[in-house]
């Protein structure tokens, strides 16, 4: 068989080390799906393209490698949009391959035609429409490079059907341009010295780490910095799990649903070193009242993240690993006894003021799930109460073991992302923790999971409601519940079994040992539905529009 465009796609995917892709065929993808038959690349057929995008994203977040999803034109491509936007907001490296109508039909409202490039302009790092089969290899190679380099993100490649079917030569082997090593410039060196000096002189410093630390694989370096300087640290929700050793400097995570200690200490700090975090409104709450006493130094690879939301006295644009390696040499240890004592005192009063750390019975249940699963288990939360309970309770043992959709907060992310994570990291156990709301959103993927026998464990914390919205309505809309009742009439255990997945239901009040053992011990996939009281919420939280020190601990009647 002669080489056609479709073969080039598979050739480049293999060259990039892609072993598995997630996708869904259609009329305009026929040339590509045909040639897949002869390829060692495994194609997982999901039951919705959104799930394919989430699976590629989960694969990327669990492994650090570029995830790949594939769809046909028109509705197939538009179904990827939510997944692409989710990856974009959290800087996750994926390549989305969309097939397009023939070049001769483009722009004529052809069958299943859509301007997917136009639609995804704001949610992709970059995108390409392939006009010439001879450019296909270059474009695909460039896409992978863009997806994973600098600040990672999704790249979309739109490939017309006739290009995929066009005859061509096999792509020439990639020209490896040697990676230019960038020497630290003198002005960079000066700026780092200023940052180090300010940090060394500070009385009440705090380090805040975001998702960028994990993305740049700098977790070990950050630990070195924290321990050398003796500096307390906190993270954003996306940074949870960066530091996995309990070393006494950990304040928890900041933000609307974070730890009160973290929010309070940040508020009192005189110096903040922000690494790989973007001061999102979820982390800072009311900007005008955020950290009023602190001088801020911010290190990030993306210049647009620096100084975008808060005033930064010491900006530093650079690759985090290199920067922290250089910075740690300049940082001195200072015994900041009054600061550490103050932190310790506050820790004693705030951390245990609520049972189960404010996460109630469901939070406690999640810690029991973790105890029942192997140590290197990857946990993937959905969005809502289940997310906050998981992020506050699960102890990450390795940097990529706790995954959540932070920036976009996409419900329905957990189950397909767990699929992708398991396929990317087959040697690790994977558990998806979701609420009933999120579970419904990609429920069709239970069929994919059972078809391929992907051994993901799924915990559905079922309170019959959209829990987080219900909590907000209960607290801030005088308990006027509107449109949050999902009902408990659906027998999710029967549904799961109908999809071919063993399942069981317990109440959060029951002794869970037998159920957890059954789940952890199952060879294949397993779903455990846990009935939770809809009045179980998560506390403390920052009420909307309030500064980060105004956390409330319960419903004020």
């Amino acid at each position: 068989m002669e080489t056609i465009g479709a073969d080039i796609v598979l050739q480049i995917l293999q060259e990039e080390g892609v072993e598995a892709i997630f996708g869904y065929p259609g009329g305009n993808s026929l040339p590509l799906h045909d040639r897949l038959l002869g390829s060692p690349i495994r194609h997982y057929l999901t039951r919705h393209e959104q799930a394919a995008a989430h699976a590629a994203d989960g694969y990327a977040r669990a492994t650090g490698r570029v995830g790949v999803c594939l769809s046909t034109s028109g509705p197939g491509a538009t179904n990827l949009v939510t997944g692409i936007a989710t990856a974009h907001m959290d800087s996750s490296p994926i390549v989305a391959l969309t097939c397009q109508v023939n070049t001769s039909l483009m722009g004529r409202d052809a069958f299943q035609e859509t301007d997917i490039i136009g639609i995804t302009l704001p949610i992709t790092k970059h995108s390409y429409l392939v006009h010439d089969v001879n450019n296909l290899a270059t474009i695909l190679r460039q896409s992978f490079k863009l997806a994973r380099s600098g600040r990672p993100g999704p790249v979309l490649v739109d490939m017309p059907r006739d290009i995929l079917a066009a005859r061509c030569e096999r792509a020439a082997p990639r020209q490896e341009a040697p990676e230019a090593t960038v020497e630290q410039s003198p002005s960079d060196r000066q700026q780092l010295e200023k940052i180090a000096r300010a940090l060394n002189q500070s009385e009440r410093p705090v380090i805040i780490m975001g998702g960028g630390v994990k993305l740049s694989n700098s977790c070990d370096l950050m630990l070195g910095l924290i321990e050398k300087g003796g500096i307390p640290f906190t993270t954003t929700m996306m940074g949870v799990g960066s530091i996995t050793s309990g070393n006494g400097y950990d304040l928890g995570f900041i933000g609307t649903h974070g730890n009160q200690l973290a929010n309070s200490i940040v508020h009192q700090s005189d110096f903040i070193l922000a690494v790989g975090m973007r001061f999102s409104d979820r982390s800072t709450s009311l900007i005008d009242e955020f950290a009023p006493l602190a001088t801020i130094a911010q290190i990030d690879i993306d210049p647009t993240s620096i100084g975008k939301n808060v005033k930064v006295a010491f900006p530093f644009v650079g690759e985090i690993r290199e920067t922290i390696s250089a910075l740690v040499k300049l940082v001195e240890r200072k015994e900041r006894t009054p600061w550490m004592e103050r932190i310790q005192q506050e820790r004693e009063t705030t951390d245990n003021c609520l049972p189960y750390k404010g996460c109630g019975k469901a939070g406690h249940f999640i810690s029991l799930v973790q105890d029942a699963m192997p140590r290197e288990t990857i946990a993937i939360s959905d969005v809502g109460l289940n997310q906050i309970w998981t992020m506050r309770t699960w102890k990450a043992r390795t940097p990529r073991s706790l995954i959540t959709s932070g920036g976009m907060g996409t419900m329905g992310f957990s189950v397909p992302a767990a699929m992708g994570a398991k396929i990317g990291a087959p040697d690790r156990s994977v558990v998806a923790i979701c609420g009933d709301g999120g579970f419904y959103m990609n429920i069709q993927e239970l069929a994919t999971i059972s078809y391929y026998n992907i051994p993901v464990k799924i915990i559905v914390l079922n309170n019959g409601h959209l829990g987080m919205v219900r909590q907000l309505q209960d607290l801030f809309y005088e308990s006027r519940f509107s449109t949050v009742d999902l009902g408990t009439h659906v027998d999710l255990v029967t549904v799961a079994k109908g999809f071919g997945i063993p399942a069981r239901r317990i109440s959060v009040d029951d002794s869970p040992e037998a159920a957890l053992a059954a789940m952890a011990g199952a060879e294949g996939p397993y779903m455990l539905e846990v009935m939770v009281d809809p009045n179980d919420y998560v506390f403390p939280i920052i009420p909307p529009g309030h500064p980060n020190i105004s956390m409330i601990h319960g419903k004020i009647c």
């Binding site: 490039i117 136009g118 302009l121 704001p122 790092k125 970059h126 993306d302 210049p303 647009t304 975008k308």
Partner: protein, 166 residues
């Protein structure tokens, strides 16, 4: 922070859709593009987009960072202020009657415009200069019977080439 008209010039690779992407950065961040001009440079692979926007002093730094993220953007320069010469062009189509020919010709000479289209009953005037000058010329010609008008966005160059024109 004072709001004034900022002039930005962006050098971009001549790839399909690049203008969309640039415009998308503005609309996505809530900035308004007041005027826009785009054409190839002497290098046909590179185009120059010149646009103006009403914004505060922070704007240039912020938008430059956002634009630099785009793969097809080569350079972003700020052409606001006294160090730059900024000009626009305008075409005015007006109906004319023989009794007013002389008056029109005198106005054209005084203003330094050009008549580029001449039919017995319809003239097209071309004028170029500062926006305020073009506005004044247009205001005058409204005393004639203006049928149509088309004007460009601003283009600009530094009075003297220098390295730090960003």
């Amino acid at each position: 922070m004072s709001i004034e008209e900022r002039t930005i010039t962006i050098l971009v690779k001549n790839e399909p859709g690049v203008l969309s992407r640039v415009a998308g950065v503005f609309s996505g961040r809530g900035y308004n593009i007041k005027t826009l001009c785009v054409a190839e440079t002497t290098n046909p692979e590179i185009s120059r987009i010149t646009l103006t926007s009403n914004a505060d002093a922070d704007f240039t730094e912020k938008i430059k960072k956002q634009l630099d993220k785009l793969v097809d953007v080569v350079d972003v320069l700020d052409y606001t202020g006294e160090r730059f010469l900024k000009r626009e062009m305008m075409l005015i189509g007006l109906r004319i009657t023989p009794d007013r020919y002389a008056e029109l010709l005198q106005a054209v000479n005084t203003f330094g415009c050009r008549i580029i289209g001449m039919q017995p009953d319809y003239y097209i005037i071309e004028t170029s200069g500062r926006r305020s000058e073009n506005d004044a010329v247009f205001k005058y010609f409204q005393t004639f019977d203006v049928e149509m008008m088309n004007r460009t966005g601003s283009i600009a160059l530094p009075r003297h080439p220098q390295k730090d024109s960003a």
